[in-house]
Amino acid sequence: MTEKSRFEIVREGARKDGIEIVHYESQFAPGSKTENRMVRIVAFFFLLSGFAGLAFVAAYVWWPFTDFPSVDGWEYAPGNSPMKGFTPILGLTLGVTLLALGLGILTWGKKLMPHEIAIQERHVGGSSPEERKLTGNTLAFIGQEFGLSRRPLLKVALAAPAAGLGAAALAVPVGMLIKDPHHPDIFFTTGFNPVNNNGKPVRLMREDNTYIRPEDVSVGGQITAFPATADGHGASNKYADSPVLLIHLRQQDADHLRGQLQNHSQNKLQNPSDPNSGGMYGNLVAYSKICTHAGCPASLYEQQTNKLLCPCHQSQFLITENARPVFGPATRRLPMLPIGLDEEGFLYAKSDFGGVPVGPAFWEKPEA
């Protein structure tokens, strides 16, 4: 069979599928100088790809060369993949392998294969009315074969397994997953709840589990404090809702805040003559670090303006005014952890945020 006649057969086959090859032409004369050059270019890309692939394997097996040719030289010394150029070399060799292969294939397809224009007809719209009628009636007849309209009892009876199975299919996954947020009321308690400390009030502590004395925080300074729970994990993510920012206010800021405490029932002085009977202890105040917007740690403390900035969406809280939000999307103040000093001189939580839920708001969350 000659080439010519085979193409004619191809064309004929295509025609059977409504395809007309209207233009088919080699881009370069066969055997011409340009064609030979294209062939060489393709071959070059393939060779390059092969070599880069080998280089990849070599690097993968032997890098870093510093250990070579010691006995275990082919063994990878762990702990240095981002260093010593291992990853970049892998990327470079693998990248070149694939890119060269891709370029070779593309050049082959674009330059060495004859250029063609084929036209295929397409049928706009749906099937013929005849076909629609036949299939439509077939479908309608299936319904008829069930005969539901003639047998109303079955119609009713069918609803039972449908409902039963549907309910079962829903009940199992929902029942498996569902977790009641209110029994126990997890959103309303944190690690500072005495239940986490065998019923005793919970002290504040640093990340390294050491307790905090008032003088540990310098004036104008702040530290992150965690609940010193009995299980010793107070600083872990188990108590992700508990971290507080413990701030030592300067005198006039502390005075200003003390004047503001009255505005909130949780923060206000229980005994007007005792400045430590409210949320603050001396000039120290502890606010929940969990942003009331979406729960990021609101931790960027700007000393000059007394604002606490949450880095996630830039809500700002004024710490001298019960940490009320003054800018950004947050709507609620950061709850204050009422603190006091125990007999041993360590700071502790007098109650668990006065019962105010920390963190982002939700449907059932009361006005704070």
Binding site: I19, I21, Y60, G79, G109, M113, A118, G295, S299
Partner: protein, 529 residues
């Protein structure tokens, strides 16, 4: 019986015969081999998404062999010294092991992450292509909807993946996600505790995200991709208008071999680019972020790019909380639940919305240039503007820091920009489309500017135009119908200045002798327009 000698030359035909005996494949196979595909660079954007998805499957499988989605707390004692002695989850530890101890693990992690970013970028740009060319019109509405679904599935898949290593950034992202779920009216707290198995972070969320990330979502995505491409096959690809192209045909190349070969080459290119990026450009260096700790976050931490627009909408949202009957609707609901809801439903309905306005319910297999649908183009530009304002606002703290602008000013600029810029985008997009269309029509009617200026006897200067259509006896060119396709606007497009020489550093072919410019018809020479 005599043993026949095996004729190697006959072997393929014989095997093919045996196959066809069993599967009756000859006719359908020929139909597939010969199926005609139109070609245009803009049709390759969807392919990039497909190819990066394949790379994601390959690299992800490698990662899954080493990664453990466990939230069990461990003390690190591995080869990355700065983190030794730190408490962290087993998930974070195995991610560190992948980066430092598994041979080639880091490049796989980085390729996986870059491929994810490329996947989402390709989807978005592909979607823009579909929108601006009207490829979503009847009969392709379903594929448009599938595309929208795949965007959101990819979004979720990427978010789940981003959460897996349990580094500082993934934990922060997860925490915000839990707050978003909390903000849903009535059921929010139930949904959150049910998903997390208790209060954030709980002990099970990574395992749940893992099964979502490596099994369920990829499976759904793979299914949708298959249907999506299957529909392109069945409905046949749209094509640009042009000579010989009609609503009732496809002009292009047969599927095999040239078209397929080019696709294969292109796949290798995409794969290669991802490999280069994965090797050369660092991404998500979790060892610098450290493990997730609820009390720690750094400023300037950014989500992956495809999440930034929602981060931005969250930042711009004013502090509006609704309290009624003792219940709360947090402000977080609007930018992170309601807005994505709108951004899903409205685009999905767009094909029908547009058909309502244009009263056009016909089948469309020819694409439209953006300039030919100025209203749609304007709407598209407005949408992109809206999106960009949100995405930029997602990084407004970085911008504020780099350019020394106040953060509050950035937030206000974003809020105002979000309201003012999209209408401006609509106006500009529509005007530019109209202007381009107008110019095409002018050239069709009056011909190409030749750059030849003539001085008329009365002292007037005019430019000579080369008409595109043959001229009648009076020297007036025939009226050419507006076809919605490229109009030549330069003389050398008409062959007047000889063909451009092909080749990169030197000509690919010996320069052919310059063709003489087509002689202007004698009458035409003095004609001015």
């Amino acid at each position: 019986m005599k043993r026949r000698k095996l004729d190697v030359k006959q072997l393929p035909a014989k095997v093919a015969g045996e196959v066809d005996d069993r599967f009756h494949a000859a006719t359908p196979l020929r139909g597939i081999l010969n199926k005609v595909f139109p070609d245009h660079w803009s049709f390759l954007l969807g392919e990039i998404a497909l190819f990066s998805f394949i790379v994601l499957l390959l690299t992800g499988t490698f990662l899954a062999l080493f990664f453990e989605p466990s939230m069990q707390e461990v003390v690190y004692d591995g080869s990355y010294t700065p983190l030794r002695g730190m408490h962290m989850s087993r998930a974070f530890e195995t991610s560190l092991e992948l980066s430092f101890d598994v041979r080639g693990g880091l490049i796989m992690r980085q390729m996986h992450h870059w491929a994810a970013l490329l996947f989402m970028a390709a989807i978005v740009i592909h979607m823009c292509r579909i929108f601006f060319t009207g490829a979503f019109r009847k009969p392709r509405e379903l594929n448009w909807i599938l595309g929208m679904l795949m965007f959101w599935l990819g979004f979720l898949e990427g978010f789940a993946g981003y959460s897996l290593p349990d580094d500082a950034l993934s934990g922060t992202g997860l925490r915000i996600a839990s707050a978003i779920m909390l903000s849903i009216p009535i059921v929010g707290s139930w949904v959150t505790t049910s998903l997390f198995g208790g209060e954030f972070p709980g002990e099970i969320i990574l395992e749940r995200f893992y099964i979502l990330h490596v099994f369920l979502l990829p499976l759904v995505l793979l299914t949708l991709i298959t249907v999506h491409i299957g529909l392109v096959f069945i409905q046949k690809h749209t094509q640009w208008p042009g000579p010989g192209r009609t609503n009732n045909n496809v002009v292009g190349e047969r599927f095999v071999p040239r078209y397929t070969i080019k696709q294969a080459g292109f796949f290798m290119m995409v794969f290669g680019v991802i490999a280069l990026m994965g090797g050369l450009f660092q991404i998500n260096p979790i060892w610098l972020f450290g493990p997730y700790e609820a009390a720690v976050v750094s400023a300037g931490s950014q989500p992956d790019w495809y999440v930034m627009f929602l981060d931005g909408s969250t930042r711009l949202m004013p502090a509006w909380e609704i309290r009624a009957f003792g219940y709360t609707i947090p402000p977080l609901l609007w930018p992170t639940v309601v807005l994505p809801g709108i951004l899903t439903v409205v685009p999905m309905l767009y094909p029908w919305i547009e058909a309502r306005f244009t009263k056009d319910r016909g089948h469309h297999n020819l694409l439209q240039r953006p300039r030919d649908m100025p209203e749609r183009t304007g709407f598209g530009v407005a949408s992109i503007t809206f999106y960009l304002v949100l995405a930029l606002s997602g990084g407004n703290d970085v911008i504020a820091d780099k350019f020394h602008i106040s953060l509050n000013a950035m937030t206000w600029a974003g809020r105002i920009g979000l309201l003012v810029l999209p209408p401006l985008g609509y106006y500009l997009g529509r005007r530019i489309a109209l202007g381009l269309q107008q110019h095409d029509r002018e050239v069709l009617a009056h011909g190409v500017e030749t750059g030849i200026i003539k001085l008329l006897p009365n002292g007037q200067y005019v430019e000579v135009h080369q008409p595109l259509a043959p001229v009648d006896d009076h020297g007036h060119p025939e009226q050419l119908p507006y076809a919605g396709w490229t109009v030549p606007k330069k003389m050398n497009r008409l062959g007047a200045l000889g063909p451009a020489i092909k080749g990169f550093f030197k000509p690919a072919e010996p320069a052919s002798p310059p063709k003489t410019p087509p002689a202007l018809p004698a009458k035409d020479k003095d004609k001015v327009h």
